[in-house]
């Protein structure tokens, strides 16, 4: 080996020549080829890969939409209508981008739910989890600013209400809002900067996803049992076992996605956004996009402006400290007979918040939103810390391989070579 060159195992001379100077092939082989992955993944483990694909789809459609979009209050709405009617396949690009945002949130909500259920946020994956929450926040900012771009009624009033959240900050709040707007109301300067940031942030997300995956490849993946792999008999090489499993999920994902795009492209949207923005008339009933509804419900559950805004941001910020709120050393809910039911309830409660967020803020709806908000925080702040002490978990299996292989299925060559007893 010449000094300074990487020792490459690749046979193809071109690949080898590149790989010995820049070992990207070796790296891909290590991280996605032979990468040892727990052998007991279920389909919940598809959603990280799905999120990755979804992010790429958003970037691809977004770049091409930008070639036809005009970021000016006088032209934005019409330029989007032109994309829909005159640009070749413009309707497809836009519907894929629009519904892609919804798909992204569906995928990431399931991905987060997987983390909650199987305790993927616990040691040693705290930073991995925190990076995930950062991605989630960046996604929300990106989706919010993207929704402003077509400059319909919901774009305008959504932007107005959300930017005004910052006016709740004591003392400097109003200055911050004027700074965000670049004027005295949501207007052309606001639209311009939102377009700039909407283009930028997905690439920031790519960067954080890279760190997220880098951290994952240090700790290794969690798995449905929540116990650590103890040796090669507990893992499989990522390729072909999980490349193929992810592909199966990807096909189902594409079927669902295509159904939305081709048969119900506006189902998840709001008809008022096909009315051009009018700064003098607020629509009678403004609602954010569906994926913001739980947080919007929390905002409206509190009768005080600052209190509402603080709880809304708090409901996401609390995820950052979740690894330290959950004091139980057992990761997977399969072995937590009590916590499991509280988490199921939390999931139902989250759906209730979504539902009530779309209702007018009056009467029983407010009462429901208040109870649901209370339980949302109670779960994290009281139930999880207490259960870590009080709950008696079920007995954990000795190894991943044991319950999987006891059925007597064929043992892959790599695993059979090692003594099973050691597990």
């Amino acid at each position: 080996m010449a000094i300074g060159l990487h020792q490459s195992d690749f046979k193809n001379p071109v690949v080898r020549w590149i790989d010995s100077r820049l070992p990207v092939f070796t790296m891909m082989q290590k991280e996605y080829g032979t990468f040892p992955t727990p052998r007991n993944f279920n389909y919940f483990w598809n959603f990280g890969a799905l999120a990755m694909v979804n992010l790429l789809i958003m970037i691809a459609t977004g770049v091409f939409l930008s070639m036809h979009y005009t970021a000016h209050t006088a032209y934005a709405f019409d330029s989007v209508e032109r994309i829909m009617r005159d640009v070749n396949f413009g309707w497809l690009l836009r519907y894929v981008h629009m519904n892609g945002a919804s798909m992204f949130f569906i995928v990431v909500y399931i991905h987060i739910w997987r983390g909650l259920w199987y305790g993927s946020y616990k040691a040693p994956r705290e930073i991995l989890w925190i990076l995930g929450v950062v991605i989630f926040l960046l996604m929300m900012a990106t989706a919010f600013m993207g929704y402003v771009l077509p400059w319909g009624q919901m774009s305008f009033w959504g932007a107005t209400v959300i930017t005004n959240l910052f006016s709740a900050i004591p003392v400097v709040g109003n200055d911050i809002v004027v700074w965000l707007w670049g004027g005295f109301s949501v207007d052309n300067p606001t639209l311009n900067r939102f377009f700039s940031l909407h283009y930028l942030l997905p690439f920031v997300i790519v960067g954080v996803v890279f760190l997220h995956v880098a951290a994952l490849h240090i700790t290794g993946s969690n798995n449905p049992l929540g116990i650590d792999p103890k040796g090669p008999q507990d893992t499989l090489p990522f390729h072909p076992y999980y490349t193929i499993k992810d592909s199966v999920g990807l096909i189902v994902y594409f079927i669902f996605f295509a159904f939305l795009v081709f048969f119900a492209p506006n189902y998840l949207g709001h008809p008022d956004n096909y009315i051009p923005a009018n700064p003098l008339v607020t629509p009678a009933h403004i609602v954010p996009e569906w994926y913001f509804l739980p947080f919007y419900a929390i905002l409206r559950a509190v009768p005080d402006k600052l209190g509402g805004v603080a709880l809304m941001f708090g409901s996401i910020a609390i995820l950052f400290i979740l690894p330290w709120l959950d004091t139980s050393p057992v990761r997977s809910m399969r072995f937590r007979p009590v916590a499991k039911w509280f988490l199921v309830l939390w999931g139902i409660n989250f759906c209730i918040l979504t539902w009530v967020g779309a209702k007018p803020a009056e009467g029983h709806y407010v009462t429901i939103a208040r109870w649901a908000t209370t339980y949302y925080f109670l779960y994290f702040l009281v139930i999880l810390p207490l259960l870590g002490r009080l709950e008696r978990p079920l007995k954990l299996p000795e190894s991943i391989a044991l319950p999987v292989l006891r059925g007597g299925g064929p043992i892959p060559a790599g695993a059979a070579a090692k003594p099973m007893e050691k597990a």
Partner: protein
């Protein structure tokens, strides 16, 4: 070599404090100030530009507005409500004791010349435009304006009475340029 690089046992000052620490702190402080100075133009560029600031005044002709009617005009991209209030409305607004108000202000302090009430038509909660300008609109429990977004009620002086909004509808800066004309801003 490694020895030469290592800081010598601190001959001056307190234990552990060396000239190198001083240099590090000074360098760090200069770097922080430098980063701040470079960041400032970027942050400042996002504040309202000069042309945006220049568009800051609007004239309104009051003569066509009948008693009990209201008009909405645009000022700095926001709606401004100009309402010619009826006698009862003014009376109602002045009879309320200040102790009942969330954001206590007398009606007198919110008008320049009767019967005109001029307020920014932006809900102080999260910025929706309240209803109440058209005769057919809902005006809320206090006969002024009602914000449908999260249910704030304003009275005939534009003061917050019920709902999540923390403050009264703002009174913009304006003056009478003649008996039937005002300039806002």
């Amino acid at each position: 070599m490694a020895d030469a690089m290592a800081p010598h046992a601190a001959p001056h000052g307190e234990a552990g404090e060396t000239r190198r620490d001083f240099l590090k702190l000074t360098t760090g402080a200069f770097a922080a100030v430098g980063v701040g100075a470079i960041a400032w133009p970027f942050i400042s560029s996002m504040n309202p530009a000069r042309d945006v600031l220049a568009l800051a005044s609007t004239e309104v002709d009051l003569s066509p507005i009948a008693v009990g009617q209201a008009v909405t005009v645009m000022w700095r991209g926001k709606p401004v409500f100009v309402r010619r209030r009826a006698e009862e409305e003014i009376k109602a607004a002045r009879e309320v004791p200040l102790s009942q108000l969330r954001d206590p202000q007398t009606d007198q302090s919110r008008v320049i010349r009767d019967p005109w009430l001029v307020v920014v038509g932006v809900c102080t909660h999260l910025g929706c435009v309240p209803l109440g300008q058209k005769p057919t609109d809902a005006r809320g429990d206090y006969g002024g304006w009602f914000c449908p977004c999260h249910g704030s009620h304003y009275d005939t002086s534009g003061r917050i009475r019920l709902g999540p909004a923390p403050a009264n509808l703002a009174v913009p800066e304006y003056n009478f340029t003649s008996d039937t004309q005002i300039r806002i801003g």
